[in-house]
Symmetry: C2
């Protein structure tokens, strides 16, 4: 599974960080999934391998502008490019009203169907051939969801010894069994794929958080999760000065939670625009990392725009070379 940060700044863009957007795929750029869509997301995409033509679904964590104001431009640009494939938008109900009002008042029309799916439905579940997606309610100023992406349809391996023992000869039946299909033989025997194949590895799982002041809400979902991508808007000293109103997390809070939940990989993002990346800048973005490292002993990463990560099949998370 791969993901690329399209924006890592909270609230407003900076010269080096756009507002929130994340491209995620199982492997390579098609199909892919977009999580949040701040203003300028379509501009950022032009500098990646991802195209709106291969976008399968958009997942919106919550309705704040820095997470949705890129939708009008992205959706209408896909139309100008001639997209015809339906596009799923998993989002709070207000997003549908927002898009409807945008289209109505800007003389826009779309060349493809939008399927709005309510992210706040209690039984929310979404899947395609590659991914199963659930979500978790977070704690923020408005309803907000983290999305849990788990890969589906893992490669099966044939149990060669059992096939031999049961005298099932190589042929089309083997291929069907490997694809997960049960097979009825000419001699009347029904072969169950689950009996003759096994899945030799663990399904990879990534949680993409939204804005949230209570990381502990992700405790249950963190079981069996290999990567948590979570906001860390402030260092703890700044969070204390700002007070609880914005309902964001500090690096310390998220790190403590990730340590207690035994999450092997933690990627922090959504940094207040006050944090500087240039040498000598103050407060410096590295303070967020330093704070998190005091509380978390797994693999810690601080996201930058266009950083691409790959969660390998062996469950190691690698940061790939930048663009």
């Amino acid at each position: 599974m791969e993901f690329t940060f399209l924006g890592t700044s909270a609230g407003t863009p900076t010269r080096s960080r756009n507002v929130t957007g994340l491209a995620l795929s199982r492997s390579g750029p098609k199909p892919w999934y977009l999580i949040d869509c701040g203003e300028g997301t379509q501009h950022q995409l032009m500098r990646t391998r991802y195209s709106v033509m291969q976008l399968r679904a958009i997942f919106i964590t919550h309705i704040h502008g820095d997470h949705i104001f890129g939708l009008p431009g992205l959706l209408t640009s896909a139309s100008m490019l001639g997209r015809t494939e339906p596009l799923d938008i998993i989002a709070p109900p207000q997003v549908r009203r927002f898009i409807d009002a945008v289209i109505e008042n800007s003389d826009s029309s779309l060349s493809y169907p939008l399927n709005f799916i309510n992210s706040e439905a209690p039984d929310f579940y979404w899947q395609d051939d590659h991914m199963a997606v659930t979500n978790v309610a977070l704690s923020h100023r408005v309803a907000c969801r983290a999305y849990v992406f788990t890969e589906r349809n893992l490669e099966r391996q044939l149990k060669q010894e059992k096939l031999a023992a049961d005298r099932i000869e190589a042929g089309p039946a083997w291929g069907d069994l490997q694809k997960g299909k049960d097979v009825l033989l000419d001699d009347g025997r029904l072969l169950r794929s689950d009996d003759y194949t096994h899945i030799p590895r663990t399904a990879r799982r990534i949680i993409v958080g939204g804005d949230n002041d209570t990381p502990e809400l992700l405790k249950e979902a963190s079981q069996g999760t290999h990567v948590l991508i979570h906001e860390a808007t402030y260092t703890q000293d700044v969070a204390d000065r700002v007070g609880p109103w914005p309902q964001h997390s500090s690096a310390q809070q998220v790190a403590r939670f990730a340590q207690s939940a035994k999450l092997p990989n933690l990627v922090l993002t959504h940094f207040s625009s006050r944090y500087q990346s240039v040498p000598g800048g103050t407060p410096h973005i590295n303070q967020l990392a330093a704070e998190a490292l005091q509380h978390y002993r797994g693999h810690l990463f601080l996201a930058k725009d266009f950083d691409t990560y790959r969660l390998e099949k062996d469950l190691k998370l690698n940061k790939l070379d930048g663009h």
Copy 2:
């Protein structure tokens, strides 16, 4: 008067050209005026001298997305920066509904008042201390306006000989007359500023067009205008292939009009994303210039993002060094 292009691409952004936006001021970056606000305008502004804190008014030519989708982010970012000054938005009525729906559905609020002014009112006129603005109805798929910016309150010079002849001694009266104020002297004489001062130069005037397939609609407004900024979405051959539906202008059309109207300076912008700027790219952006030059003998410019121009008091248009 100065203006900086924030976007010069039609419909969709490219890697080197954003969608439409233009910053205009009488002198320096405050106050200033924004004409159109495509997605990413706030991002472009971060690379100029212009700040949303000193923005006096936004003029929207028409409701298409590439001219308005940057409004939500720009307006809410100004709020996050703590703006309190009222902001005028001169736009078609749909823009108010668009902004209202955005604010309602994104849990947004603004720290300053927005004054919506209907750009389609038949008696439209706007002014502040620096600028008088009228508009002209264009021909496009939706209602669209060009804005005509004329500087106001030009520097007056005292008529020294007349002051001496009428025995009006140097003092506060001179200053008031020079500011355009009439003065009542202690001896009962009423001095009219217009009698004792003159304005030694012509008021500068710039037309900023919107999307338009009939440049001739600007004929009357072009009298006394020193710069026309107008879309030239296509070369004529492409316009012929595309057909009339998009209701845009070709470079040839605009150039012919500017020549017939004797406009001294013509700046073309809003180019179809098919035109390339890299050497050898085809079709090349220079084809638009070559075509226009066949029909126009004034000063021709093709806009690029971040290009800044100054219309000097002597009515010469200079392109300043890039950023």
